[in-house]
Symmetry: C2
């Protein structure tokens, strides 16, 4: 069967070249006589895979030397706890709640200290990104945001001015979609299963001084979750998800070889804007995210009725278009246009949307007729 | 290059058939047009992969219905904390310390409650497995052991009689090496990177009643680490290491198709005993683990001097024999003979050991000459 047009929100499409390389190296990685899945994580061969992955990521993102890079397991969900456990030294942080994921992160932080909601867009159904009213309390340990909310398809384009308070950002679904000013963050983390590799690794990029001498909460912090230890052991305190790191390294190289993050950003906006443009002009489909808050990656929209949404999703499968069903808590549709989603997949989706709209002219909004 | 004779302690050898299947399915899993790494963990295709992996494991091990099976991230190291955080309801547990891993688990448990060392073999350099003197305090929340200590190459063959106190066992390096009486344990966990798949998943098998209504330590437990939540969501509370689960499922089927756990046990003892037999009769190599405590998987031994150990390890590489260097905290050599290590690999290692011993006759123990 042909490769699917894969718009999954994550795990999501990976570059075909990368998958082919991985398949070719499956039984014998570069003449060592074994798969990367079979080799000791203490071997020089794996060490070079890990070092290369980190160095390539540092080049791609321009990560300053005073930031540590870690590959950890447990997903963003474990980071929801790792962040306050490691950084909440004054037991007081601020959270910007822009959707499902930042709300979960805030709820987790409330278990470990005072976590204030500095702003939230929940009253408007998370259709936009919330903004700080002014300069936050400078005694806060950090200001947290989920910079791209995958469920609602919103993205914070301008980082808030937090003065001297470090910004901690979950960038999972925009990680490597575009350049980021790393030096403006205290900590950046991302589940890699959107743009960087298979699920099972979370990249944590943290400024040295925030890691300090150990976790803010001290001894109750599970050893695995201590940034100080993990950073000092360069992600090898215990056995890492080695295959995942290997795949991430390949994807990092693929991004570098296909133009780097600036080129990714240009291509991704082009894909997303073609969809937003069509949806905005459509009489059948309505956008979910407000124009000023729209995501570079996750394009969310819906039909006039849930029944039509279901019909659209079912019909998509017949055209080999997958992953366009919206998140269960929001419904509707979501087309995630990550780096490895080719323009021709967007062509296919747009063709289908046009045909679907034509076939359902009767359901279209009269105000647009 | 030919496939290496891989004796790595973990990550370790995987069945060649499984790797070939995975390579063949890399760009298109069963006609769905994508890799398992690219598909949503909420898709029916991945759900069937997860369900099949769990059901195959249940058949293989004969896991009773009142035990839950979870695929979690973070390795055994995260379980060192998950176990007391979830099960230490009376804040009092007992630990059998048989080596490096059980000692780390005990140290972690001390952060969360009273963890008594019921017995330890540390005074004799962990050359044997410790034994309970008598029936433990029946008010203990659990008795913990690491049933196979990978570093020293020791294994507890007979489970201790703990009365009504649940036994919690880290069986990582003996997982699926032989049948286990699951019903005699309260909780079994295993990092899968020895016999079951690539690093990045830990299988946790826990009796329903121990999971209870939530973690013993309540709110301070990171959400990701709660067994109740993870079990109720069948390993899909958040995005799992999907590729790792897929690979484990393939390995579970391979074990079933090649005879099941009883056949694995027979073959594994045959491989290990050929090595133990040679080492016991050798004038150059000395065993590290006492005969009554030897592991089915990790055969540990050493030469008269560290220099000879280093020479042996270096020479092995020239014969395509890898992973025989002992753990850094113990030195010497270690040959891990997991399920996927073929008998011919043991042949190659024995040939090399004989040649090495002949070539170093001058270094042999005089008492044996």
């Amino acid at each position: 069967m042909a490769r699917a047009f894969n718009f999954s929100a994550g795990p999501s499409a990976l570059p075909e070249e990368v998958l082919k390389e991985a398949a070719a190296e499956m039984l014998d990685y570069k003449g060592c006589g074994m798969s990367v899945m079979e080799m000791s994580h203490r071997s020089s061969t794996f060490q070079s895979i890990l070092d290369d992955a980190e160095q390539t990521l540092r080049r791609l993102m321009g990560i300053p030397d005073n930031y540590r890079v870690m590959f950890l397991q447990g997903g963003a969900t474990l980071q929801f706890a790792c962040v306050p456990m490691n950084l909440m030294r004054g037991r007081h942080a601020g959270y910007l709640v822009a959707g499902n994921w930042s709300k979960k992160a805030w709820q987790e932080a409330c278990k470990y200290g005072q976590a204030d909601v500095l702003a939230t867009s929940e009253p408007t159904g998370f259709d936009r990104t919330p903004h700080l009213g002014g300069m936050p309390d400078q005694s806060l340990d950090y200001v947290y945001l989920c910079q791209n909310e995958t469920v609602y398809g919103t993205m914070t384009r301008e980082l808030p001015d937090t003065g001297d308070v470090p910004i901690v950002a979950d960038v999972s679904s925009m990680f490597l979609s575009s350049p980021l000013p790393v030096e403006r963050y205290g900590l950046i983390y991302a589940g890699v299963q959107k743009n960087a590799g298979p699920a099972g690794n979370t990249v944590v990029i943290c400024r040295d001084d925030l890691i300090g001498d150990g976790p803010a909460l001290g001894d109750i912090v599970p050893t695995y979750m201590g940034y100080k230890l993990q950073a000092s052991k360069d992600s090898l305190y215990n056995t890492p998800n080695a295959w995942g790191i290997y795949m991430c390294g390949k994807v990092f190289h693929w991004i570098e070889e296909t133009g780097g993050l600036a080129a990714m950003e240009e291509r991704n906006w082009e894909k997303a804007n073609r969809l937003y443009g069509y949806i905005d002009g459509s009489s059948l489909f309505s956008p979910i995210a407000r124009p000023d808050s729209r995501s570079i990656a996750n394009v969310t929209f819906r039909c006039p009725t849930p029944e039509l949404d279901a019909e659209f999703v079912a019909g998509a499968a017949e055209r080999n278009i997958v992953g366009v069903k919206g998140h269960r808590i929001l419904g509707g549709m979501r087309a995630s246009c990550y780096n490895a989603v080719p323009a021709k997949a967007v062509d296919a989706l747009l063709d289908y949307m046009e045909d679907f709209e034509r076939a359902h002219a009767a359901d279209c909004r009269t105000d647009a007729q």
